[in-house]
Structures are given as C-alpha cells and as structure tokens.
Subunit: 218 residues, 2 copies
C-alpha cells in the first residue's frame, strides 16, 4: 500500500517527483506518549499519519502546556518540517497520543519538490491554512470563552474521538490540553458532578448528561 | 512607480503574469479608522501597503476585539483574500490605523497565477507562515503572560512604531488591541503611574521610564 496517495495532490505530481517521494519516505512507529518533534531543535520531516493520533502543543517557559490541534489518520503534520519555510518562527511539540504509525517525508526532499511544483506548494498552503484555522479557533476560545464552556466542549469532543462516554483521562492531561492548572480542572469537574453531568472515579470520567454539557456550551 | 515590485517574488514571475497583475491591480486610499475587510463577508483581494498602517483583528460575539497583527509599508495582507484558499475557515477584520494607501490585487487574478506558479505559491506560503508566527506569539502572550507584562510590551512597541514617547491613544483602543476591557487597562495604567513609569493626561500617555517598563517584561 502506497500511503503517499493520502496526499490529495499525489496525482498532480509527475512520475519523477512521485518516485523521489516513494524512495525517500520512511515508515516509523511511535509509542503512546513518545515525542516525535520538539520545538525548533529538529526538522524531522513531513509526517503523514497512517494510524493513531498526534497532538501538537506548545510549552510555556515554566513548563505549562496547551494543545494547538490534534491530527488523525490521513492528516499531515507540516510543522515537524518547519525548516522548509524561513518564516516559521515558532516552536511546536508533537507527541503521539496513541500508538501511532506514520510515514515521514524528509524535509529537504519535500522542499525541493515544493519549490518547483505549484500543485505541491498550493497543497502545502491549504494544510497551513487549515492549521491556521485551528489556531484561530483556539484564540477565540481562550480569549472569550469561560472555562466551563471550554471544558464541556473538550469532554464532548473526547467522547466523539474515543467513541465512548467513559473517558480514561487524568485531570492533569486535561489541564495540559486546555492550558489550565490541574486544580482548576478538578474544581470544574466537581462542579459538573454536582450538576449531574458527569461522574468521576479513579482515572475515569463518565459522561452522564450529554445534552446538559451541550447546553453549557451554548 | 510599480509597487508590485514590493512582492519579493516579482522577478520570478513571467512577463505575462507580471502584465496580468499590473493591469488588474488597483490603487486605493483608506482613511484612518476605515474598515478594508470585514470577516468572511467579502474577499477584497490581496492588499499591498504602499504607505500607512493596517490592523488585523478578530471580534468576539459580544463585540470585544483583539489585535492579531499589524501591517506596515511593503507588507502584504493575505487574509483579505481569504477566498483564494478553501481551508481558511476564520474571520478576520482589517482596518486602517492611519490614512493608508494600498494596492489591491483582485483575489481571482492572484489565485489564477498562484495555481500555476510555484514561486508565487511558495511566496504565499511564506506570508502565511509569517502571520502564523505572529498568531503563535499572541497565544503565548495571552496564555502565559500576566497583563502588566503585556501592557508594558504594548506601550514600548507603540513608542517604537510611532517614534515618540508621547502616545496619543485611548484606554479603550489599548483594550481593543489586547483583548481586555477598558477598566482593566485604566487600572493597570494607574498602577504604572504610581510606579513612576508613565504619566497620563487627556488622551495621552507619556512614557517616562522606558527601562522600568522593560524590567516588567523580563
């Protein structure tokens, strides 16, 4: 199976460009929790997700985290190849949220084709615009939305991603997604328990009243 | 004077592409405060700033504002042509901060050249990456920096942009830049006065102790 066909631009590349990509792309597997890319220290390459899930986040000077976006099967991770563009002047960390299998396209190979191929350059533009939209959504959330709305939204999103109302996730992990201290998460979860929206047990959050959480968001 | 040469990619376009741009680009002038582009309602075109200054910001549902970035002479405003990319799924508003003269390249013209020109597509990539970096800086600020640091940074930046330590700016305008209510700005400015960093008079902020403001940021 040639996973490179996941690139929707594949058919617009010429034979030689396709061959170059096929010969240079490398399969890699990452265990849950493993870091694939760390800030500006490395330029791993473009990462195409075959299976699993990645999380892109930033870390503050004192070690706090906030999730920028998550990437799923068939998604492309562009910023792990940040050296392909001079104007990318920020650090992002990419970690595996599950055991994840990827295809890595070396940065210099991708860059050399992008420089001559308008279709690939435009495809790259679309990927970046899509991540830009994620980040603009995040700004809207952290600037204007109260924490109860953000937490309710996060829980419903997790429920949808995992396909279950029983979420195995710690309060600290939620804090790292939303950019808030663990205690703030715990306090709001307890409020949700009192409202009959969820129940808590060790390492697990059970969503009881989905409609109630949706009402909080609106 | 052909201001299109401000596009650093100009020499890499062929004669026919250059002619198309020259024939379609339109000079426009905007008065201070005028809105050039409003959310997703319009797709004005790519805006090249000849002189003046633009501000890109988003507006919350209840009308609060926060500045994403500002654009100066020779800068390019890409998101006023957001319809050139499907994946741009967010609204941004662009306003003139001063009387501003621009060159507008119609979106469909720019898009048609970008689709076939790898240099123009890559140039567009670099512009977007640059704005992406601005927005990542903003997230870092609003997530992890206390308001005194953000305000001190803003005042020093204004001083540098305007080339004077006497800033003619209202507390409300500062609030709209930083995404905070006017009262919060006023309270922190008064604290800065007490610390001997600035002085206030009607519609004016005088920066007295630049070093002191810099110390707050560090």
């Amino acid at each position: 199976m040639n996973y490179l066909t996941y690139l929707s631009v594949w058919d617009k590349l010429n034979k030689s460009q396709q061959d170059t990509l096929i010969n240079s792309a490398v399969n890699r597997k990452f265990k849950k929790g493993e870091i694939l890319h760390n800030g500006s220290d490395d330029c791993t390459g473009l990462i195409l997700i075959i299976s699993g899930r990645l999380r892109a986040f930033t870390i503050s000077e004192d070690g706090r985290e906030i999730t920028m976006y998550r990437l799923f099967e068939r998604d492309i991770c562009l910023f792990s190849a940040s050296c392909i563009m001079n104007s990318i002047q920020f650090d992002i960390t990419i970690a595996a949220e599950k055991n994840t299998e990827v295809l890595v396209i070396p940065s210099e190979i991708y860059k050399s084709i992008m420089e001559v191929s308008a279709p690939l350059a435009n495809y790259t533009n679309e990927i970046m615009a899509s991540r830009f939209s994620d980040v603009m959504w995040l700004i809207d959330q952290v600037m204007w939305k109260s924490f109860d709305k953000r937490l309710a939204d996060f829980l419903l999103n997790e429920m949808s991603i995992e396909g279950t109302s029983t979420l195995k996730i710690t309060h600290e992990t939620i804090g790292n997604h939303l950019g808030n201290p663990r205690e703030v998460v715990t306090r709001m979860l307890k409020y949700f328990v009192n409202e009959g929206l969820i129940s808590l047990s060790r390492g697990t959050i059970e969503i009881i009243d989905k409609d109630g959480l949706e009402k909080i968001i609106d």
